[in-house]
Amino acid sequence: MARHSEEDAGMAKAPPAARQRKKKPKENKTRTVHANILHDCAKGDENPNRHYANNKIKTTKYTVLSFLPKNLFEQFHRFANVYFVFIALLNFVPVVNAFQPELALAPVVFILSVTAIKDLWEDYRRHRSDKEINHMDCLVYSRAERRYVEKYWKEVRVGDFIRLRCNEILPADVLLLSSSDPDRLCHIETATLDGETNLKQRQVVRSFYDLDCEFDPLKYNSIIECEKPNNDLNRFRGYIIHRSGRRDALYKENLLLRGCTIRNTEEAVGIVIYAGHETKAMLNNNGPRYKRSKLERQMNVDVFWCVIILLVMCLFAAVGHGLWMFQYGDNRPVFDVLSPEGTNLSPIMSAIYLFLTMIIVFQVLIPISLFVSIEIVKICQVYFIHQDMDLYDEETDSHLQCRALNITEDLGQMQYIFSDKTGTLTENKMVFRRCTVAGVEYSHDANARRLAMYQEMDSEEEESMSHGGTLPRRDSVTSHQSARVVLRSQSTKSHRRTGSRAEAKRANITPDPKLLDKVNDCSSQMDFMRFHSQPMSQLPSDLSDIIDFFIALTICNTVVVSSPNQPRHKVTLTCSGQKHHLITNRSSNKGCSSLLSSPSAESTLTKLHEEQPSGGLEQAFSPIPPSYDGKTSWNLDEGELRYEAESPDEAALVYAARAYKCSLVGRLPDQVIVELPHLGKLSFELLHTLGFDSTRKRMSVVVRHPLTDQITVYTKGADSVIMDLIKPPDTGKRQKKIVCRTQHYLNLYAADGLRTLCIAKKILSKEEYACWLQRHLAAETAIQGREELLFESALQLETNLHLLGATGIEDRLQDGVPETIASLRKAGLQIWVLTGDKQETAVNIAYACKLLDPEEELLTLNAKFLCSPSGPTTKSFNTNFSPFDIYSSSSPSSQSTPFLVHRLGLVIDGRTLAYALDKSLEDKFLAVARSCRSVLCCRSTPLQKSMVVKLVRNKLKVMTLAIGDGANDVSMIQVADVGVGISGQEGMQAVMASDFALPRFRYLQKLLLVHGHWCYSRLANMILYFFYKNAMFVALIFWYQFYCGFSGSAMIDQWYLIFFNLMFSAFPQLITGTLDKDVSAETLQQLPQLYVNGQNSEEYKPYMFWMNMIDAFYQSLVCFFIPYFAYADSDVDLFTWGTPITTLALFTILLHLGTETKTWTWMNWMSIAFSIALFFTVALCYNASCPACYSPSNPYWTMQRLLQEPLFYLLCFITPIAALLPRFFYRACQGTLFPSPVQLGRQLDKLPADIRRNILSLSRVKVGSPLCPKLPFLSLAKASPKGYYKKDGRSQVVVLALCTFSSSCWIGKHRGPFLAVLLHSKFF
């Protein structure tokens, strides 16, 4: 703490020079970090890092002092609060006051304080967790003591050296300077940041690479220049300037991010670059999302109407009062009260004053407690959704999370669902199914059979697994806990568990015997050749292709190897001899493992030249001697190795390769160790890794082949891109044939719904490589536009590839997906699938999950060529779309045509989508899409996904839901009205961006059909009831104005008037709003048609507000005039007459709620009983408490007296019934004569189970058949398209022949958005 004050003081008296220096980096958009120890002992104000945020985090909104003003200020952002405070203050003006001013303040103060207490509590919890985090320990180097000392996190400052031990959590963003790992690596787990469970390698800054001895902070004297703090987790750029003047570039591989956990590394030392709120983790931590639901928007309109009604009523009363005053003229009646000054007010002045008074008296019309009540109800709804057992996934021990608390009712009003495919509809647990190598297909039938068996056993197995399965857990419970604290996100251990199960399945691949033979054959030949020093090029090309294929599968990835016993521990080498080799290797060079970078700069070049002459065969595999002797230093059984991959495809491929004995046994930054049959362990020198990105759709590794010593590029990627990059086929007939065949098999795979990947290789000559490397290095060292340059560089490398083969990976559909889609569609939801996958795969998955129907006409929009969206394009698009104009207008004539109607399915690919989303065509596109039953967008980029959602949302004015699991769905999730994330395999980014997070797709059914429906109907009914209740109550006073000279007098005691809403009538509606079920969950799920209710906003239509208002006015008339006539011409006094009216109104209001309540649990009974009891208790106490208080009403002993009168009871009996008779009658008639679907569903609920089942099964068979006049809702075929495409033929393919434009140019033109997308995307 002392340090803080010192720092603060330093800040205060910073000399002008320092200020300038501070300004300068701002202009440069960089941050300069010096080591603190150089300045530590010096005066604090000399420290150049003092301007950077310290590591103390404060996520609280308020301090003790600022709480009240700040909180009030925030609350007054809500217009209603301002309004109520205004009214309360109006009461302090003597001329217009209606109530006791203090009393009038009560409700507003109550509401404000309830909210304030809620805010305070939340803030306190934040404060506590902040404190916990701030007081975590870490080791910081102290110059005074010349060692690392324990300090609190909050004391860490930019420029400090900190030492991290295994399983510790990083307190700040740290530049890695030293690691105990022999490879100068540090592994971190970023699950708390992005949810990815695999370990990431981070690397010591290259200048500190060679230190063999321990890193000594005292010797550090470099300066770091880096970016300003930003929230991009995947970017870090900067350079370190050594005293010698040498500059070394810094990458994100050098930066350890706050919140990550150190794994596998005993000790690491780093310097703090960003601290506290400037860390990337904190900058990414944006608060909860606030959305306003459709229902609330609608409600606000009606609140506005209430204001108008209020003003009209006040105006009416004011005019009435003016006239009333006017009729007496100058002749003041004896009961008139002169103004305090003793003068007469003119009628006009009185009218004006009265207008204000009336606003106060009628304030109840604007329901002050509505907003609070809605919030309470929503919190309860969220609680119930959380608690639903059906939305709980046993396997992953996760349940639904509501991240947005205020849009639950939107779930009941969805019209369009946009779904991702991979990981959302499918499991995203990849299983290797088939492959083709060198044009020969290996179908892996045995494997397929085994998998089929697995699926059958799956359910039982899952049961047993979830009960008995003890899986290795990490030893560090504490760190895990604190990790949770740091980011306050849900634990991710669940994924790990499922992951491990899936991996267990994947690991066992039954190899295709033919292929296995060939692999064996090939490797034995190679072994033989190596033994006899023959050049490898003599190998038959099909065999070499096979071995290359498997090598590519094994090394062309970013998989990390770990052993299952210590799942978080990388496999390490134990032999000292090898270590030596490795060190030499390392010191000579390279190595980072991902995204388009190899920081090895000049040395790579030099090495290239150095090693050129000595690149002999023996030397190539000298690093690891062949393990003939059997004494392997890899003391782990390879079968137990586990692979942790960033994308499940990669892992699937590596496991597949292992089945063929080509296993990945170790991965270091600069080499990959592979074990091949007969050949033993080979070490591939890893020269470059060009990581995967969604634009290139491929990844490549550049390695030096240990057997041939050739520089080889292995590329793996989407078939569409790889096929274009294959060497022109004129070079060889064989290659041509391979390409042709492979394409054939690829189509087959896609037709089977497999995910396809192409594997290719390319051999670079030394010259070519040197040439490329030169440019690549230039690109790497560029600070501005580095990504673009690297991208270009990668494009240059990945050309003229030699096709090796292709793989087909199966992505199993999640359980219950077809059923869910079918029932969601029955519910009138339009489902669009937006996927990045290729068209054939997507179409097949769509068929598999019943999104597309075989009977449907398939309308495929494929742009063959690309061009700028103008001129001929538009024209041709127009002409092609013109036939659809007919249907889009949805003319009734089209339905009466005798033609056989076909359902339409639309398939559109990413390129075409780019046109369709163009301004000039989007309307046409939508028209076509609307007339289709299902829409499938393939090959779409994340940006396109979000554009489609936005287009539909804005143009069609519909409620949209986007569901996805991966980072590429984030933008779509954010754009949609409701974003749903699947907390699946692909990390937490989608979940973080979502409003609701589901463990499984099939839970969407219950979430929407049941919870959405309930939430919507509950809230809609509650809001309507609220309006009714207040209008009814206020109207009572309004009628009274006709009998009191419009003087603003109220027969209802001010206490009742003010507390009626807050206390007497508050609880039952909350209970009903939370618990009421119009139809049971089972029926809602069996009859998805009932969902249409919410889609069409049938519970709360605009006219319903007015119907409720009319009903409210009618009821208040009854409640007013029955007592009026009953007491007419009697000696009743004001409050003895007004109190029964209040009581009657309460009874009527509660009974009204009763008629609207569909299910009565004991809580409903209790709440109503409680309300009535509370009213009488309060009334009796209030009327007995103080004889001379509560001016002006002074209702002493009124209630007590009333309770002795039979007339009171007679009134209580008749009035509510008379008031509710019309509504009751209407409801009864409606239930009998023209029941709504929901009412029928409710009637169905009441039937005995077996009859109900019969009816439901009938309904399923004969939807819309004339069988059901009794159940008319069964014919609600709402989802049917507006128009039909009537043309024969199975599948109508509209090919848009558009003008030519080279694809690369197109990409070049649109690179901006693509790069933005690139950073978010992963393996498609």
Partner: protein, 340 residues
């Protein structure tokens, strides 16, 4: 088991409440329930209605207007002059016995005691006998808290100031001789008003408490001299004052003036005969088109005469029955699924 629990820490509680499966009654407004319900309610209401109507019919009411706005009426001279204590008298004849107990009301119409500012114009503490409020009445009484010479008015405020001040005596003429009908003025105000809510300051004699104050402008006598005949009926605990202070709910109201003392000839009520009411006419009502009347009424268990409630019960009751018949027709025409 323990392991299983720790494995599924996030598993929701499987209780009826959290799973929203609380046992519930689900009423459905189908004809099967509604028709019998309506018939039952209708019949019950009709029964109550008949009883109420019979009771109400048995109540005798006699209303006599004495505003005097038409020239022929007895009090027209008084109503047109501003003379204080103008006398006029009203004759009426009872042909049958007016069943006791008989209540004697005065009634005002078009008189807005419920006017908002009027209602607030009083000082509860003063009326509770708080002496400090005697010297400085609450501003809520304004402008009736101080007179022109800045002396505090007690009781202050518009309600007190506008107190009804006509007085009545009832005489019966039996065979030429006139004898007074004894009117009982005790207990006409609420018991709680007389004993708890309103208090005289505990100063004896009461007059001293009012030193330094003035009577309300419209009053003829100060508060401590309201009832010369009964010393305990003075100050704020005067029955007439209390009745007046209890503001009427509606612009047409009656207030209890006296009861016919049930003694002697009047044990059973007012016997048939000729009666005269002598009125001291003070209270001006013609300025606001008001009217004054005298009402004699007896009461039943449900209060004064009021046929409305009985009729209302009958109407609602028969409505219910009619509705149930309508529903029955509907039911006969459209059978609905759950009846199969």
């Amino acid at each position: 088991m323990v392991k299983q629990e720790s494995e599924s820490a996030n598993r929701p509680d499987n209780t009826a409440f959290t799973q929203q499966r609380l046992p519930a009654w689900q009423p459905i407004l189908s004809a099967g329930i509604v028709i019998p319900g309506f018939v039952l309610i209708g019949l019950a209401f009709i029964g109550i209605g008949v009883a109420l109507l019979v009771t109400s019919r048995s109540i005798q009411v006699l209303e006599l207007d004495y505003t005097g706005d038409s020239n022929g009426s007895p009090c027209s001279s008084c109503s047109q002059s501003d003379i204080a204590n103008c006398k006029c008298s009203l004759n009426f004849t009872l042909t049958t016995l007016f069943q006791g107990p008989v209540f004697f009301y005065y009634g005002l119409s078009n008189y807005f005691q419920n006017y908002r500012r009027y209602g607030a114009s009083k000082d509860d503490n003063q009326l509770y006998g708080d002496l400090s409020s005697f010297t400085s009445p609450s501003s809520s009484c304004s402008p009736y808290n101080y007179d022109s010479s800045k002396k505090p008015i007690v009781p202050c405020g518009s309600i007190a100031n506008s107190m009804f001040n006509d007085t009545f005596t009832l005489t019966r003429t039996v065979s030429g001789t006139t004898n007074n009908v004894t009117l009982d003025g005790k207990g006409i105000a609420w018991w709680t008003d007389y004993n708890i809510k309103y208090r005289n300051p505990s100063v004896t004699p009461l007059k001293n408490a009012f030193n330094g104050t003035v009577k309300p402008i419209n009053w003829a006598k100060p508060a401590y001299e309201l009832d010369a005949s009964d010393r305990s009926n003075n100050g704020f605990v005067n029955q007439d004052f209390l009745v007046w202070m209890r503001r009427a709910a509606l612009p047409n109201f009656r207030k209890l003036y006296r009861r016919i003392d049930a003694s002697g000839d009047y044990q059973k009520g007012l016997p048939a005969g000729n009666y005269t009411i002598d009125i001291t006419y003070n209270y001006p009502v013609r300025a606001f088109n008001g009217a004054k009347k005298i009402v004699f009424s007896n009461v039943s268990w449900m209060g004064g005469s009021n046929e409305f409630l009985g009729i209302a019960y009958l109407v609602i009751g028969s409505l219910c029955v009619v509705m149930s018949v309508v529903m029955l027709i509907v039911y006969a025409k459209f059978k609905f699924p759950d009846e199969e």
